[in-house]
């Protein structure tokens, strides 16, 4: 057996003896610190990334789906919408699509009690969206997100469905809405006055939809038939088309297919859900991702310093014994290996306990209780790969942090170490 093999074997033996005979409270405390370090590396980062994923997830799930087609910037509507929808439907990866008519509208509550035109009533300016309820539900599943009342039906001509951010009682974005107008007392069943392009119509609130996505929750929904009347649309050109592809489809390829099959003069913007995310939200997601990485980096640095201090203090206080070990013929390499094994033991124990806590408790907890924000809801985004990657990083850090202090102490003169000089 080579000397190096002996270094490993004897180093492991020394490390094991030290760990077994150390004060169990001290060992427990070090492992606890390692556990916190690993949690710190993964938890806040996971929450921030989870929130970022939640934002983009709700945007895709309830609004854009896999592909979103909108008019190009110099157009108000998607021209030749029927032809475009036919092209989309010919896509091999096509599953569903929904189209939307959109336009600005004013919604007023309590207008019946106003004596004069200038008297104030509850009102809100928002985007009126005309949908085919069945098609919309097939793509965005909004019927499952009704928090009060019920979902629209195709026969509803005088009913509206409101996003939760338009009514105080259901709004999750109260702080954001401060200062802007919001319907304070209206509720399901309330009669509202809907004004579009000078046309006024009394409508009844049929349901409230809440998705935790500000785009969806800030809209007024009406059936496409009613919307076409209000917007006075004589043709079938729409403002938005959201497309769902079969699961696992490559959205960029689908986008290219549609683009290639459209006429040259079709001026539309075809975007994947990622591309369609508003720049503010996209910036927020990027910031969260960056913050997550920074937090993980700082946690790693703190963890490295912790291991270094623990091993260094251990090595320094046992300088005499390291001297004795060298004095009786134990190589410096063996002593270094012993301290590296100890550092790895603390790190591995911390990682195992933290992983059990993360996967067994925290992840299920966040799935059941996601964090709600005005821009979306997020849970803990942790994958096995994340855990493995961070565990490897922590182990490498533990290796280095265990080696350096041991190396610093073992390189001292043997006699000086034994005599405490």
């Amino acid at each position: 057996m080579t000397q190096q093999d002996k270094s490993l074997e004897v180093g492991f033996f020394l490390a094991l003896s030290d760990i077994k005979r150390n004060n169990p409270w001290t060992t427990g405390l070090i492992i606890f610190v390692m556990m916190l370090t690993f949690l710190n590396m993964i938890l806040l980062n996971g929450i921030l990334i989870g929130l970022a994923q939640g934002m983009s997830g709700t945007f895709k799930q309830f609004y854009s789906s896999d592909l979103l087609i909108t008019p190009s910037t110099n157009k108000n509507v998607i021209e030749e919408s029927e032809m475009i929808m036919a092209t989309v439907e010919s896509l091999p990866l096509y599953q569903n699509l929904t189209f939307r008519y959109t336009g600005p509208a004013l919604l007023e509550y309590g207008y019946q009690s106003k004596l004069k035109q200038v008297d104030s009533s509850e009102s809100v300016n928002s985007l009126l969206v005309g949908i085919d309820p069945k098609r919309e539900d097939a793509v965005t599943h909004l019927s499952k997100m009704i928090v009060a009342g019920s979902y629209l039906e195709q026969s509803d001509l005088d009913e509206v469905m409101l996003g939760s951010d338009l009514i105080t009682k259901y709004s999750t974005a109260k702080a954001v809405s401060d200062g802007s107008k919001i319907l304070k007392t209206a509720d399901v069943g309330s009669k509202l006055l809907l004004a579009v392009n000078g046309i006024q119509k009394e409508v009844t609130v049929k349901g409230i939809v809440s998705t935790n996505n500000s785009t969806v929750d800030g809209r007024i929904y009406i059936t496409d038939t009613a919307a076409r009347q209000l917007f006075n649309r004589s043709n079938l050109d729409v403002n938005e088309i959201a497309v769902t592809l079969t699961e696992g489809s490559f959205d960029v390829a689908a986008k290219e297919y549609i683009k290639n099959n459209l006429k040259q003069n079709n001026e539309v913007l075809i975007q994947t859900s990622k591309e369609a995310i508003p720049s503010g939200l996209s910036q927020m997601i990027k910031t969260f991702n960056l913050l997550g990485m920074m937090v993980a980096g700082i946690a790693l640095f703190v963890g490295a310093i912790t291991i270094f201090i623990v091993i260094y203090v251990n090595a320094i206080t046992r300088r005499k014994f390291i001297g004795i070990l060298k004095g009786i013929g134990i190589t410096s390499r063996t002593i270094e290996v012993s301290y590296i094994f100890q550092a790895l033991f603390y790190a591995v124990s911390g990682i195992i306990i933290a992983s059990i806590f993360l996967l067994g408790f925290l992840t299920p907890y966040f799935i059941l209780h996601p964090i709600h924000y005005p821009v979306g809801s997020g849970s803990l985004a942790i994958t096995t790969n994340d855990i493995i990657t961070r565990a490897i990083i922590l182990l490498i850090t533990a290796f280095i942090s265990g080696f350096i202090p041991a190396w610093l102490v073992t390189k001292q003169n043997t006699l000086d170490a034994i005599l405490g000089r």
Binding site: M1, Q3, K6, E9, I324, G329, I418
Partner: protein, 226 residues
């Protein structure tokens, strides 16, 4: 067996240079029990550190078993020390996290011996020093004399050519000290070469030969008739 030629040891502290050993020469034949005595600060322990390869002399040479050990450095020096020398420290220097048996077998583990072999050797050594009933005790469960006997068992387990003992009884009571010295006498009778540093003249008289050092020089070298 040991040839020491003109050993010099200097220490430097800033601009101040102190010569602790001033050209010491002597030889020790195989199987001799040599006591090195002298007053505190005379240089006797420093001399032992040079002979035991724990330190490197500033000048001169040391030859052990026909090998010029002053020319050895790094791993070769460590390996020579591990295979050929046994060292007993004044304050026992046994490891608190290891049992008596583990302390004894540790240096042999590094030499690549078979596990059964070093286990057996460790038990044999502990029997030799009368600790057969305490092989699994930790240092904290042993008296000072017993801890020093563990130190002796560790030094002799691998059958070194020479045992160096640095004031082995300095921290012990009379009874324990006599027990340690009896072990040395017994080992020496079995043919073991022992070089012991002591400041106790009575203990030195138990050796075959006494070298007295003062101010870094040998002032007397006596063979005792036994």
């Amino acid at each position: 067996m040991i040839e020491i030629q003109n050993i010099v040891k200097k220490f430097k502290s800033g601009d101040l240079e102190t010569t602790v050993l001033k050209g010491i020469s002597f030889s020790v034949p195989k199987g001799q029990f040599l006591a090195i005595t002298g007053r505190s600060g005379s240089g006797k322990s420093t001399l032992l550190y040079q002979l035991g390869l724990l330190d490197h002399p500033s000048g001169g040479s040391i030859i052990i078993n026909d090998q010029i050990v002053t020319d050895l450095y790094g791993p070769k020096r460590l390996e020579f020390r591990r295979k050929n020398l046994g060292y007993i420290f004044q304050d026992y220097a046994i490891l608190p996290t290891l049992t008596a048996k583990e302390n004894v077998m540790l240096p042999m583990m590094m030499q690549g011996y078979d596990k059964d072999f070093f286990n057996q050797k460790a038990i044999e050594s502990l029997k030799k020093v009368g600790l057969e009933n305490k092989i699994d005790n930790f240092p904290s469960q042993l008296s000072g004399g017993e801890q020093q006997r563990v130190g002796i068992a560790r030094a002799i387990a691998h059958h070194p050519s020479i045992i160096f003992a640095d004031e082995p009884t300095a921290n012990l009571d009379t009874e324990s000290s006599e027990m340690i010295l009896n072990i040395f006498i017994k080992l020496n009778k079995e043919g073991q070469t022992i070089i012991m540093v002591t400041h106790e003249p009575e203990y030195a008289k138990l050796a075959d030969r006494i070298i007295e050092i003062s101010d870094g020089k040998i002032i007397s070298d006596k063979l005792l008739n036994k």
